[in-house]
Structure formats: C-alpha cells, structure tokens
Symmetry: C2
Subunit: 542 residues, 2 copies
C-alpha cells in the first residue's frame, strides 16, 4: 500500500526520547520522605527509568502486566511512570486516600502484580497483605537507609534494586493503542470504575493540554503539579512538562500544606500550577495568615470540582494570579473544557459578567466533541440556557471501562459524562449539576452547584452542599446543608436571605441545616450520595 | 478486541466541525481581486464549504480525486481546502510562480481533474490548455460580475456554482491516513517532487505548531499568514487558526506588497504573522520609507530560507517585533525546528551570543526526531560543532514521494532532508548548507549560508550567494557572487575585507564577482543550481 506520510506511532516512549534529547538539561525538583528538596534533570530521570525497566524485567514482569503505585508526586514516581508504560506495561496509580476496602477492590480488580509504595504509605497497605493474592511483591520508593520496618512480604528497596542495573535498555516498539496507565474514578457516585489510558490517548491529550489557550506550557515555565499523580495522571503534567521542557516541581506528600507550597513556589520560581479547589483554599489561607506573596506565579488551574468565587477573586486581585477553570474527569484523561484566554469579543463585558464567564467550565479543547442532550434524547442548542446531559466523544475519551459488564457508551457511540450543563454560542460550558444530584422542582431544574457556590460566598460559610429531597407538592425541593467557619454562627433566615436576589426566587432552598462536617470522597469531593443517606428521613417543616 | 479509549480518527473534518461549533463567530478577513476587504466568519466559511462540496459532487468528483488550485491566500481558497479534503479528495495547491513547463508537469503528474483558479491567474493557465488533457474543467474563483474573458474550455464561475447548492452535506467518515493535500517541493535542487499529506499528518502538525513555544496561537491572536497557501499549506495556519479560534487575515495577491501588509496589520490588529525572509525585507523597507508602525504585531515567523540579521535585528529594535526562525520543508508539512521561547538557562547569555542563538533554526518541535549523520553514516554528537547530514523521522514526515520511482527513505527508515547542520546540547539546530551546495576546501567544510549571511549584513549589499567551484590545490574553493543595492558600488577588496574577522580566515572566498541579479526559484530562493551553471567556466585569478 502507498503510505505517503510516516505513520510513526504516538507513544510515551517517543515523548521520553524527545524530552531526553531536547530538554535533558531541564531540572526536576521534588519533596520526598527522604529528601526535602531533591533535584536532578530529565536526563537523569530517564537514565534511571532505563535502570528501573531492566529491574522490572528481572522481576519477571512482561508487557501487558500491571504495576501499581501508592505514591505522591515525586521523581521516583515519575521514573516509574515512564519505565512501566514504555516497557509496554500498565502503570496503575492507586489513591492512598481511598478506604481500605476500596484499595483492596481496586488492586485486585486492576490485577496489580507488583506495587511500588512510598515509605510513608507502607502502613496503609500492610493490613491488606492477605487480601491481595495476585500481588507478588512490593518496591519501597526509598534507599536502604530509609527503609521502614514492615510486615509485608517480598519487599525490595527501590534504590538498591535499580543500582545494580544497566542504564541501557531497548524500549519495545509499541503500537500506539497499547494501554499505558490505569486509573479508577473517584467513586463519588458509585463504585470506582477503571479507565485504561493508551499511549495514543495520553499523547494526544498532552498536545491538546499544552496549547496557548489551555495550560500554555513553555520552556520558560516552571510547573508545580499539586494535583496528585494518582488523580488522572496529575492531569498529564508529568507528560506535558518534559515534552515542552518545562521545569517540574513536585510537592511529594506536602501537596495540602500551604506553607510548603508557598516556599516551593517562591524558591523554585513556579509560574504555573494545577490542583483542586481545596488546595487553593489551603494556599490562600496560608498566604493570608503569613502575609507571604507568590510573585513568580502567573496562572493556576482549578478543576475536579466547582471553584469557589473567593479563590478566583482573591488570587487575582490580591496576588495577581489568573485562575483558570478546567472541567473533565477520569474518563477523559481528564481534559474536556478549559477556561484560559477569553475571546477578544467578550473581553469588554462588564467585570461582573466577565467574572461569571471566567468561572464557567470553559470551552472545549480541540479533540473533545461535546453535545448537550435534552430528556427526549434530542441535542439542545448552544444558547447559554438549555441545560441537559453532557455527552462527549474524542481520541482521549473512554471507550470501555476496564473489566466492566455494562456498556460504557450510548447507542450512538457517545460517552455520557454524568454531568449536566449548558453551552453558550462561544462554546462556554456551564456545569449545573451531576445527573445523579439533579433537583427537579415542579418540573423545572434547579442547579445545586450554583446554589452551593452562592452559599459558600457568604463570608462566614466554610462549606455548603445542596441536595434534592422528596416533596409532596413540588416532587422535589432543595435542602441546604452548611458548615460554618470556626467560631461563626448565623441563623437559617440569614443564610437563606443571603441567597435572595442572587438566584431565582423559586430556587431558594426550602430549608437549611447546620452541621459540623460534610462527608467527603477520597479525592476530597463532597459525597452527596452519603449526604442523601444521612438526610433520608428529613421532614420539611411546613 | 478490548479498545479502552475511543480511536476517533484525526481528520480535518473533525477540525472543521470543532471550529464551526466553538470558534464559529470568529472573523476571516481577505483581500481578493473582486473585494479589497472581504470579511465573514468561520461559520460562514464552513457553510459555504458544504455548498462547494455539494457542487464538486455534481461535477462528478469522487473521493480520491485530485482538485488543483492556482490561487492566493483568501477565503475562497480556504473554502476549497476544506471542501476538497473533507470530501476525501486531494487538494493540490499549484505555485503560480512556477515556469509554465513546471506547472504543466505538476498538473499532469498530480492528476488534477478540475482546477480552481483565481481570476487574475487565468492567463497563466491558458497557454497550457492543450497540454493538460486530464483536466476536465476550471472553476474561476469570483462572481459573475468579475468573470474574465478566457480561451479556456469548461469554465465555471465559483459563486454561481455554489449559489444553487444546499448548505447541508454529510461529510464522509474518513480513515485518518486518507490523503488530504498534495504539494510539490520548490525545485531548488532538482525537479519538484510531490508530497501527499494525510489527514493525520496535517492534524498532528497542527497540534505541534500551536504550542506556546512554536506559533503559540491563541484565541486572542490575529494571524496574517503571508506565506502562500500553495507553499506547504501556508505552514498550516489555515488549519491551526480555525482550530484555536484565531482571527485570520489573508492578503490575497498582495502578499509581497509592504504597504498592503502594513495596512492590514494596523487595521485588523494583527498580532502574529509568518512568511519567507523576502517578505520581511519588503515590509521593513516599506516601514522605513513610510515611517509607519506596526504596533499590534508581537511576533513573526521567518522560514523557508536563512533569515538575514537585519530582519531579526531591526524588527526587534525598531518595531518591538520578535522574529522567530522556523526550519522545515515541503516533506515535513513543513515544521521541523522552531526558535521561539528560549530556555531560561540561556537567557542570560551576552546579547551577541543570544542573537546568534536566536538566528539558528531552533529546537525540534515535539513529534520530529532529528539526527545528524557524519559521512561514515555514524550519528554525530550534539556538541554545537559536529556538522553532518540532517535526517528526520516522525508522524508528519514524508514516507514516499507521490508517483516516484526512487526510495524516499534511507535503509533505517529516516528521511534525509538534504540539509547539512549541527546541533547543540539544548537541541538548537544550525543549518550550515544544503548537501548539494556544500563546499569542501582542503578536506574541511565551509558553510555557504554563514558566508552569505555575513556578506548580506554589509549595508550596501542587496543579495549574496556563495558557491563552491573546483580548485587545483584545495579541490574546491568558495566564490562570492554579490548584487549591490541600487546606486552603491564597492570593490572586491572591500567586500572580502568585510568578512575578515567575522569568519575563519580560510573560509574567506577566493574571489568575488558583482552581478546585476541572481537566479531565483519559484518560491523566491536563490537557485545555486543555475548559478553553478552560470559560473561553470569561471577561472580563479592566480
Ligand atoms: N470544573 C468543574 N466544575 C464542576 N465540576 C467538576 C469540574 N471538574 C470536574 N468536575 C466534577 O468531577 C467529576 C470527575 O471527577 P472524577 O473523574 O475524579 O470522579 P467522580 O466523577 O467524582 O467519581 P465517580 O465517577 O466514580 O462517581 C466530573 O464528572 C464533574 O462532576
Ligand atoms: N530557517 C531556514 N534556514 C535555512 N534554510 C531553510 C530554512 N527553512 C527552510 N530552509 C531551506 O528550504 C528547504 C525547504 O524548501 P522547500 O521544501 O520549499 O523546497 P526546496 O528544498 O527549496 O526545493 P527542492 O527540494 O525541490 O530542491 C530546506 O531543505 C532548507 O534548505
Ligand atoms: Mg464520574
Ligand atoms: Mg528540498
């Protein structure tokens, strides 16, 4: 057959090869349990990845096998990523914040054969020892001096393991559709489900994510991925930074610690970072308390959950940092839409409207095709108000969950995201809810996310959730559940009054309850599933 | 088979679909023969592309057929690009500056069935009428009012043709390796050769080219592709701009006209542009004469030939425009290396060294794998001095020339670019020569490009070329051939003296000749092939 252009496969191996040759001198800085500030270069990283690949081979691991990781963002985790995926194996990142039963389920379901563990996380896995029979052994990510005592069997020391290996390795030539990494969903709406990324999906996602209107990563940047590498591969930054030659700064176990983050940003001159809203609240909190600044920081991505206005507003006004919203999910590698640069035609909007726009989920990145479907299965117009189920399609969208017995796609081949939202004529997506959290009152939809955002903007409110509960007259009505900031109290009337004028009057929750804390999932999201169970017997007052 | 992620094909159709939905409101501005400033939106463009696709179908054209274009950069050419490629046909862009015999050869070799012609270019094709028997007819890109008289047969008017068609069209589902566009090389070193781009190669090139460190295209930008759409698809900007939502400004037949370019830049607020060095010299010339400014312009790409220092220097110092060098070729879609943002580690170099660095061909864009090969076939180190044949590999590099009887790749599957250069440890490529132009004196290489750049920096020199001629003692020695600026004269001694201290002493050409003009190719490059013929009988003086 006549093949006019080369059909060179899109593999992570090609990315590694490029990064080593072209960006090999760029630094990677990490915080680890055994070193508060480890630094070396991409060239060093990939050399050690080859040593590790040799080591994995001597352990009997073969292409197609799965290697688990229970680890933070640091250089050894980076080496494991590349060594495993480029050997044709699957790198299965496990979320250490999952409940033990969930971890057990996922390790078994993912068929992990070896597990690489951060020394600080060994105690987490020890209790599972006898419940994960397919696991042949553990590699503890440290040197001999820092090896923990452990009850686990078949335990190897990472540094000793690779020390004896050659730094030459012939990476196999892989088809671009070879699986590279496995990640399970957060389990917010049900059991975690496995998503198996391929080399192709990872690379294309990488290309799309570094565009000027998305992460806009440059060799001039210094990136701090706070989002964990066990959370959809750290939104791909551990791939895109070496691809571009961006210096990488990784916070290790300190990802939730405002002080460490602030120090890293200032000392390493971080320009760009990414994380969930909770992290930004922690950083803001620290900045306010300490009076510190983050002068090198230009822009941050907030994703994974709706971003509170205060994060967007204070980061910009007090610290001159642009907050960019991303929307996506495990099934999307994760990027779907991004709110980066704004079309010039909209820049002249009044500040308040512009703020609203900038807090939306953003516009589809090229590669992700989106449609909004009404309850009748018809596509809805992009008019800024018609809300419906969000469906997606594209080269880094899931096709089939890993070992799953139900169909993943709809009859037309679209993936139903489980989110509900609307699109405007510029392609700005607004997420109004999760399908499972939707509140339907008197036949009309109420956005729980918008109500929550509005409640959280009250200066005394720490966290808020809205759930729909059965109602005799309206079929369902919203209930507002609020956690106050320490030492603050307000009453029901004041809380509900705060919402007046800010949302449609019939959206105002029919009641409000104050609690000490809300249930959360392993990725730190409010678990409305648990909240609904908790309020199953709630009675409306009238 | 278990396919974990969607394998949605990378097609230009998907790009068009995205651009229409997400960036549909963005403007496209063109200069045409029938309208000095036509403007509409991407939405309008793709609607008309569907009308055109219907029209092509009624003409009997089928997937796999080739449609030629002899046209400038304007909106109708844009519509043709998408209508043809997304119908599964091949869009063959013809360079109107080719000699008639070359045009005839390429039209026949490319098997063009219909040709779309700009009204101003009809006279160019008329003489070929009886020599291109496979061509079934011509579509003149204008409305009835502007139709030229012509001796061609089977001539249709573009606007009338599409006016009667529906704006609904079911684009075929294409495999991503389907050919999309055909372009012939410039014929600088021999006969033009056909390169057939696929949907996949075009899309991947697009992704790579919009990176922050390459074109860095954003929805905030306004792009003016001056490089013709018949010259490697205008370096892909007619794809990447709609992909990102960048407003597109197209100069039509006025691409060489400094005044029009300046007016377009200022009135349309152009931020980014791309073209060959000649165009930048024309623009600089106009700016100097008129005293005009180009305040919106932030950065320009210069590629296709070595960029004179004066372009880089004056654009930056007088007009605050960053000049970014790109290196590539028809066989590479065209992008190979790019000199955009500079690694922070190099930013502190002394200005002179930094200038030298910024005038190199740049660093490999992700996707292009480069190696430098010595005469013994061994790979050379990236040490900033080991010069050899540049070979490339990657998903938008040619695999086989169109209808060609010699192998296109070397035995290991690399494409030999025909260029000679060296790489440094940061991956900066320096082009020293074309393989066919290499001068070897006493066993050592002399860079004709470096000598030419140096000669052209003399304030009175308009153009300069260096060729190697046989020499009894040194086997070959360089001859400098110079065109002076109007009204200027200097003598041989002064000219050669100018080079002293700027290049190694044994590089100084053994003689210098002044001529009124140099021979050029259809893309405006100096034709050293013709120059060598012209000086075949030259005798060294001593
Ligand atoms: N910018 C955002 N605004 C609002 N919600 C967001 C945003 N980004 C992500 N989300 C929410 O996070 C979800 C994706 O999260 P993830 O893939 O981690 O698992 P999950 O959906 O929480 O868990 P599970 O699918 O197991 O129930 C999205 O479907 C969406 O509901
Ligand atoms: N930045 C640059 N600096 C120096 N030379 C360049 C640069 N960019 C491109 N070139 C030259 O242009 C060539 C590519 O041009 P193109 O594909 O238009 O055809 P051509 O090589 O001139 O013609 P042919 O291959 O038919 O002889 C490269 O091989 C290189 O020699
Ligand atoms: Mg989910
Ligand atoms: Mg060539």
């Amino acid at each position: 057959m006549f093949t006019p252009m080369m059909t060179t496969p899109l593999t992570i191996t090609s990315l590694m090869h490029h990064a080593e040759r072209v960006n090999g001198l760029v630094e990677v800085v990490s915080v680890t349990a055994d070193n508060p500030r480890h630094r070396y270069t991409y060239r060093d990283a990939f050399k050690r990845a080859r040593q590790l690949a040799n080591a994995l081979k001597t352990l009997g691991l073969k292409p197609g096998d799965t290697v688990g990781t229970v680890a933070w963002n640091d250089y050894r985790h980076l080496e494991i990523y590349y060594a495993v995926s480029c050997s044709g194996m699957v790198c299965h990142t496990l979320n250490p914040r999952l409940f033990p039963e969930q971890l057990e389920y996922i390790i078994n379901h993912g068929e992990d054969q070896w597990i690489c563990i951060d020394p600080t996380l060994v105690p987490l896995i020890e209790p599972l020892k006898d419940k994960i029979p397919k696991v042949k052994g553990f590699i503890v990510m440290t040197d001999e001096a820092h090896m923990p005592d452990t009850k686990l069997d078949q335990v190897l020391c990472y540094e000793s393991l690779i020390a004896e290996q050659s730094d030459q390795f012939d990476w196999p030539e892989l088809d671009e559709n070879t699986p590279a990494a496995l990640c399970y969903t957060s389990g917010t709406t049900g059991n975690p489900k496995g998503v198996l990324y391929t080399h192709r999906s990872t690379l294309l996602h990488c290309y799309a994510s570094i565009c000027a209107d998305v992460f806009g990563l440059s060799i001039k940047d210094v990136a701090l991925p706070i989002v964990p590498m066990f959370h959809v591969n750290g939104w791909g930054m551990v791939y895109s930074a070496p691809m571009v030659g961006t210096k990488l700064v990784m916070p290790g176990p300190k990802m939730g610690d405002g002080e460490t983050l602030c120090t890293l940003i200032n000392e390493e001159k971080v320009t760009v970072s990414a994380g969930v809203p909770t992290v930004w609240l922690a950083l803001l909190n620290y900045l306010q308390q300490s009076g510190s600044k983050v002068e090198s920081l230009q822009r941050i991505t907030s994703g994974g959950a709706a971003c509170p206005f205060v994060v967007y507003d204070e980061m910009r006004s007090k610290y001159d940092v642009d907050v960019q919203i991303g929307w996506g999910m495990t099934e999307m590698n994760p990027l779907g839409t991004y709110n980066g640069n704004c079309p010039p035609a909209l820049e002249s909007l009044p500040q308040e409207e512009l703020d609203q726009l900038r807090l939306k989920a953003g516009r589809p990145v090229f590669g992700v095709d989106i449609k909004i479907e009404g309850e009748d299965g018809q596509e809805l117009p992009w008019d800024g108000k018609s809300s419906g189920a969000i469906k997606v399609r594209g080269p880094w969208i899931i096709n089939e969950y890993f070992h799953y017995d139900k169909p993943t796609l709809d009859d037309d081949g679209w993936f139903e995201t489980g989110d509900v939202g609307c699109m405007d004529e510029w392609g700005y997506l607004q997420i109004t809810d999760r399908l499972k959290d939707v509140i339907k009152s008197g036949g009309e939809w109420i956005s729980s996310i918008e109500l929550e955002n509005c409640a959280v903007n009250h200066p005394d409110v720490a966290e808020a959730a809205v759930i729909g509960l059965p109602h005799p007259k309206w079929s369902e009505r919203p209930l507002l559940v609020v956690v106050m900031k320490e030492g603050k109290t307000i009453d029901k009337q004041e809380m509900l009054g705060w919402l007046e004028g800010k949302v449609a009057s019939w959206w105002i929750p029919s009641d409000c309850v104050f609690v000490d804390e809300l249930p959360h999932t392993a990725t730190g999201k409010i678990s409305k599933k648990d909240l609904r169970v908790q309020f199953a017997d709630f009675q409306w007052s009238e």
